[in-house]
Amino acid sequence: MTTGANGPQTPVTEADLHAWLDGELPEERRASVERHLADHPEEARRIERYRAQRALLSHSFGPLIDQPVPDRLTPPFEARASLPVGTGRLRFWAMALAASLLVFLAGGAGGWLLRDRAGLRGDPPTAAFIADAVAAHRVFTVEVRHPIEIGVDQEAHLVAWLSKRIGKPMRCPKVTRGGYALMGGRLLADADGPVALYMYEDAAGRRITLYIRPSPNTAGTAFRFAQDGSLRALYWRDNGLALAVTGDLDRATLSGIAEEVYGALNS
């Protein structure tokens, strides 16, 4: 079985096959393993399945590395260790409280500076919300082939579908400021359930996103502003929805767009 076409040789072991796949096989053994695989198509197929499996592993879990890091896992660690963070519930509230101070993003060069624009009451959406909105923006705006799931050419279908999944009437706000036009949208999931993502693009191909998820808290909030490098986001809560507009654009244009969205959803 383990004798190759070119005569007797050191038998190829299962360990050799895996080491070959993982690039850990010594150079001098490579030829005999490859000969063995050529002579044993069944085994070659099995090893190729392992290769595909390894690729799927990275493909499936790889994106987790871009998840925004919750506040409790950002420095300074010692200070946080003294907080009463015994249970998941307490940790959640500690995190929500900290959300009003700072959100730290994985992979980003800096932190997010959050501050009130106006003195409206109501708890802002949490750190996790804005971090998810920004992560979705980062992931999908760079997509060439599949930036959206359903295009604006099927707007009625898009609105009906997202409304059904979100459980609320989801109008599809038009944005005209800055020359942006609706491309379409997609359904996403975050820790709290379904999320709607709309994407807009201008003539130069710059994209902004509108990230919307249902919020159990119906009290409205002021716009809040977050920034990381050139990427800016405005987020707020209104009528049982938490919303975030994110884009690589100046604050004045972003504010104009956010107000336009706000107006369109309240008209």
């Binding site: 360990a15 895996h18 099995r46 399945r49 493909h59 994106p63 896992l73 420095p75 010692e78 940790r91």
Partner: protein
């Protein structure tokens, strides 16, 4: 406490390579640089984010408490991985987890939705199948396949002989293949 009267937040500058220089004590930022990787590993290992974050937080706290034990800061990544692994194992022993399989439905749906539409089914099936493996198998597949550790590095993290790592990897791959493709499991005989 509100945002207005809050003290300054934590230092917002990202970790810099200088933090890893030998002779410098590892600090928060050096550890923070590894947190995204630790979270990815822990999430894939335990199958949900809240438990993964608990595990990573415990890992960070333990690392800081024992920071003097790390002689060579360039080995910080592997050292953190070892701590996380040991915490996970002792947690499994302590809790005697609910059955062998881990509940991954939410994670599977979430990761599937983040994948391009054409890949969604494959990602969902993969995450579900992966959740049916034993902890030992998930661990060795993740360290070699996703974290890109060599057999030797994996053996160091797991504190096992290399031969054990290799036979475990072979069995894990075959088990996963059968879960994904169906068919009979090929008995992985003595590996050497």
């Amino acid at each position: 406490m509100t945002g207005e009267d809050a003290p300054d937040g934590p230092d917002m500058t990202g970790p810099s390579p200088d933090d890893h220089r030998i002779g410098h004590q590892i600090d928060d930022r050096a550890i923070a640089a590894h947190v995204p990787r630790l979270r990815r590993y822990a999430t894939a290992l335990v199958g949900n984010r809240p438990d993964a974050d608990d595990l990573v937080q415990d890992c960070v706290e333990k690392a800081l408490a024992n920071r003097h034990a790390l002689r060579d800061p360039s080995r910080l990544g592997g050292w953190l991985m070892s701590i996380l692994h040991n915490l996970h194992i002792s947690g499994l022993r302590g809790r005697r987890r609910r059955g062998a399989e881990i509940p991954v439905e939410e994670l599977a749906d979430d990761l599937a939705l983040s994948a391009p539409p054409a890949d969604r089914g494959a990602v969902r099936d993969f995450v579900r199948a992966f959740g049916q493996l034993t902890d030992e198998h998930r661990t060795v597949l993740l360290l070699t396949g996703m974290e890109g550790l060599s057999y030797r590095e994996t053996a160091e993290v797991l504190e096992l002989p290399i031969g054990t790592v290799m036979s475990r990897l072979a069995r894990a791959r075959e088990r996963l293949r059968v879960l994904l493709d169906g068919g009979a499991e090929q008995a992985v005989r003595r590996i050497k």
